[in-house]
């Protein structure tokens, strides 16, 4: 009797389990699920499957504001030029002239088409750039358009968007006037969808819902977006793309996988063709992994406005810098995965001929630190301050992430041991950290920066007194003058020398506490070819990827 009851309940339960979900909208992967573990070979289709840890925030080309946004748009939009791994190539423009003063660019457009077959015209660039700078649009990265004449005035609402320094001479000719000669203008434009053309008819048709999903836009780039549903983005080649012969894939699928261990598991299981490796797992993949550097640098700021007088003493800051053993730091904090650094500018940036790092003559702090020198500077500082080392307390304010905690604790330990001073660590949320950087409520603070464009200025600007990014309230007239001069200098070598000089001043003044350059470790299937990696805006450029047998 009893058994029959149990059996009855069990049967009912199982039946219900099967039924469950039937009444609920099922995931419609809209051609997305590549047939179970279907790799490229199975169906003969060339499919590249990868994941993103950060969800793209928007599909509107003008509103992108993070790496995933830019990477996604890199496949969907075509700019006047295309930046592939630092090399500027033709895009919609097949040729261009630059005026002698470096201010006026004239672009000659090729016969290119949108994914719906409409022609791409100069007027569509004008529309897009005006929209980008229009305060009504509230584009998060509009400041990148301040390089265009009147960009800033439009952005703050002083003049109408029509005053922006961009005009269509005719359908196929676009004239751009810059605020000042900008050595990296083409390179920057080639990386960012903010400079892509837009279709006024499409934008106005959808209004606020423009690009809300894959169907609500048309595409100028190598791929079209066929689905953006269910946190998975499906790309297929754009039949109307001007350079469609260079595109080898039949499809690319990007899934949002927040958890890095999950992404790795999916890779192991053959559900992804590419995966980043979380730093904790990196030692397990030695020999199989590949690396690229994403241009992010880790360092600490010091707050020039802080009331801690020790921090305002150059020798004290130099002592702190000499006391850091950056090789040990890198082992302890990053499992040895990053590259220790004593500079601010990411060394892999493009220089004049080679990379910035290779051309650099910087005299930085020794990677292993120098305890004797640290003590020497400390003694000088103590004399000037009239204090004992044990009387000095400095506080590191950092974020609440695990890595930030390690970062602060390792420096704390090194400073305590080498210098005998007191170091406290104060952890706050990321948002609060940014607040404090802006309001100046810290002594030594977490800092990190990535390049917005492939030029040292993007890092050095952090120490220009009138820069919105001057989080340490650093003021040095010489630095300001040099940086301003680099904006108008048209001789590439002279300009680069000035930038090196600025960085040397920042190091000599111990204006910050450099630590490491980040490195990303990843796994990729052997049959995937043609992936490009770059250190700014677009870390992973899979546009030219191919699956080979």
């Amino acid at each position: 009797m009893k058994r029959r009851l149990i059996a009855a309940i069990m049967t009912a339960a199982m039946a219900m389990s099967l039924l469950a979900g039937c009444g609920v909208p099922k995931s419609n992967s809209s051609g997305g699920s590549s047939g179970g573990s279907g790799d490229s070979g199975a169906s003969g289709e060339k499919v590249f499957r990868f994941s993103t840890r950060t969800e793209p925030t928007t599909l509107d080309p003008s509103k992108g504001n993070c790496i995933p946004d830019t990477e996604l748009q890199n496949a969907l939009t075509e700019r006047l030029v295309r930046n592939v791994k630092g090399e500027v190539k033709e895009g919609i423009a097949e040729k261009w002239e630059i005026s002698d003063d470096g201010l006026v660019y004239t672009f000659h457009l090729r016969d290119a088409k949108w994914s719906d077959g409409e022609p791409i015209t100069a007027e569509q660039f004008v529309y897009s750039w005006r929209r980008l700078m229009d305060p009504e649009t509230a584009a998060p990265f509009a400041y990148i358009g301040e390089y265009i004449k009147n960009g800033r005035a439009v952005e703050v609402g002083d003049v109408e968007p029509e005053e922006l320094g961009v005009k269509a001479i005719d359908d196929k000719t676009l004239e751009v006037t810059l605020e000042h000669p900008t050595a990296y203008f083409l390179s920057m434009m080639g990386l960012s969808s903010l400079f892509a053309p837009l279709r006024q008819d499409i934008v106005e048709k959808y209004g606020k819902d423009f690009a809300a999903d894959a169907e609500k836009n048309v595409y100028s780039g190598p791929y079209v977006l066929t689905s953006s549903a269910n946190q998975k983005w499906v790309f297929e080649p754009n039949e109307n793309y001007w350079d469609k012969d260079s595109i080898k894939l039949d499809r690319a699928e990007m899934s949002y996988v927040q958890n890095q261990s999950t992404a790795l598991a999916m890779y192991e299981d053959g559900e992804l063709d590419f995966s980043e490796i979380p730093s904790a797992d990196a030692p397990n993949y030695e020999g199989q992994d590949h690396t690229y550097r994403n241009g992010n640098v880790d360092y600490f700021y010091y707050n020039c406005d802080s009331e801690n007088e020790a921090m305002n003493n150059i020798d004290f800051r130099l002592a702190l810098n000499y006391a850091i053993n950056r090789n040990s730091y890198n082992e302890l904090v990053n499992n040895g995965m990053f590259t220790p650094s004593t500079g601010l500018v990411f060394s892999g940036l493009s220089g004049v001929e080679k990379t910035y790092g290779e051309e650099s003559t910087l005299k930085g702090y020794p990677m292993d630190g120098d305890e004797a020198k640290a003590k020497e500077h400390l003694d000088k500082a103590l004399k000037a301050l009239g204090k004992k080392a044990s009387d000095i307390t400095v506080t590191i304010t950092t974020t609440d992430s695990d890595s930030a905690k390690k970062q602060a604790e390792v420096c704390q330990e090194m400073w305590k041991t080498a210098l005998g001073i007191n170091v406290e660590v104060n952890q706050v949320t990321y948002a609060e950290m940014l607040n404090r950087q802006a309001s100046g409520e810290y002594e030594i603070g977490w800092g990190g920066w990535g390049a917005d464009y492939d030029d040292p200025y993007t890092y050095l600007e952090l120490f220009k007194s009138d820069s919105p990014y001057n989080y340490s309230k650093y003021v040095n007239d010489e630095v300001d003058e040099l940086l301003t001069a680099t904006q108008t200098e048209t001789d590439a070598q002279k300009r680069m020398d000035m930038l090196h000089e600025v960085e040397q001043i920042l190091i000599d003044e111990a204006a910050f506490f450099p630590q490491a350059e980040r490195e990303v470790h990843y796994l990729v299937d052997d049959d995937v070819e043609g992936l490009n990696f770059f250190h700014c805006s677009i870390n992973l450029d899979w546009v030219y990827a191919d699956i080979v047998e």
Partner: protein, 306 residues
């Protein structure tokens, strides 16, 4: 009954209003704002603030929000700038609900069976087994459960996909991982309640009347013992169906769970409010359903009402 439901609905609307009001002002007290990106310049920030109406006094913003809300407009997310809050919930909720229903069916059916079986066999081997399941289920955190299932069935044995949610085979592991805790707690509650009911006079009466064990268990014992399980079902249904951060993150399921955490850490005000409102209304609704079901299961509740 109708009057009772009417009263409950009015109370629910008031509760939701208080909830929204409190949350509206509380989110503004969080450090930072939705534009916590170190790259934003003050000019851009100002433009974005006026775009979202932050330049108006807070009370005006509150008024606007409430007016829009009554019109059914939750506004645009401040992080995912070209999506509305309703849009995001509409896209993610079906996944969470689908997963939740599967997990719930598993948990409740097996949980009840385990509870009943172990109570009927108190002190025997099978009871011991059920207790172990219950202890494990309530003490193993879901992220461990999820990771273990994922590693075992997904990677090691390759039987099931390790992540995503793209077909029936994808749903099994996350549903099991999610069900485990509820299953364990349902079985524990059911077992305790069964034992308590077993010593009641009416069970003795039934037995002395000469009724068979099956009829006693099915008709008298289970029906009375199920009340405490129903009590916990309201909040359980609400929380399981509206997504869980951990399980969805481990299995990369495009559900709602992550938005509870991310909207707060992103200071995405409209999203926080939308999620709170959605969850709040859903929870209140579930509790209301449970209250009505009480009346069905237990005549004393109905009589009490009159």
């Amino acid at each position: 009954m109708r009057k009772y439901i009417f009263k409950r609905v009015i109370a629910a609307i008031l509760t939701v209003w208080v909830l929204i009001t409190v949350v509206f002002f509380l989110v503004r007290l969080m450090p930072g704002d939705p534009f916590t990106n170190p790259k934003l310049t003050p000019e851009v920030r100002e433009n974005m603030e006026s775009y979202y109406g932050f330049d108006k006094p807070l009370i005006v913003q509150y008024g606007n929000y409430m007016v829009n809300l009554i019109k059914g407009d939750f506004g645009y997310s401040m992080k995912f700038t070209n999506k509305t809050v309703a849009n995001i919930i509409g896209e993610t909720f079906p996944f969470s609900a689908d997963l939740g229903i599967r997990a719930l069916v598993l948990a409740v059916s097996f949980g009840l069976v385990l509870g009943i079986v172990s109570a009927r066999n108190r002190g025997k081997g099978i009871d011991f087994f059920c207790v172990i399941v219950a202890v494990l289920g309530t003490s193993i955190p879901d992220f461990i459960m999820g990771a273990v299932l994922q590693y075992g069935f997904g990677i090691k044995w390759g039987l099931l996909p390790v992540a995503r949610y793209e077909g029936i085979e994808y749903t099994i592991l996350p549903a099991c991982a999610l069900a485990f805790y509820t299953l364990a707690s349902v079985s524990r509650i059911m077992r305790a309640s069964m034992l308590e009911v077993a010593s009641q006079d009416y069970i003795k009466t039934a037995r002395s009347k000469g009724l068979g064990e099956f009829r006693i268990t099915a008709k008298h014992q289970i029906r009375n013992a199920i009340m405490p399980v129903m009590t916990v079902m309201g909040p359980t249904v609400a929380s399981v169906l509206t997504g869980t951060f951990v399980i969805e993150s481990i299995f990369a399921i495009p559900g709602m769970g992550k938005h509870y955490v991310d909207s707060v850490s992103n200071n995405d005000y409209s999203m926080v409010l939308g999620m709170t409102l959605f969850y709040g209304v859903f929870l209140i609704f579930c509790n209301l359903v449970v209250d009505i079901l009480y009346g069905v299961a237990d005549p004393r509740v109905r009589i009490g009402e009159r």
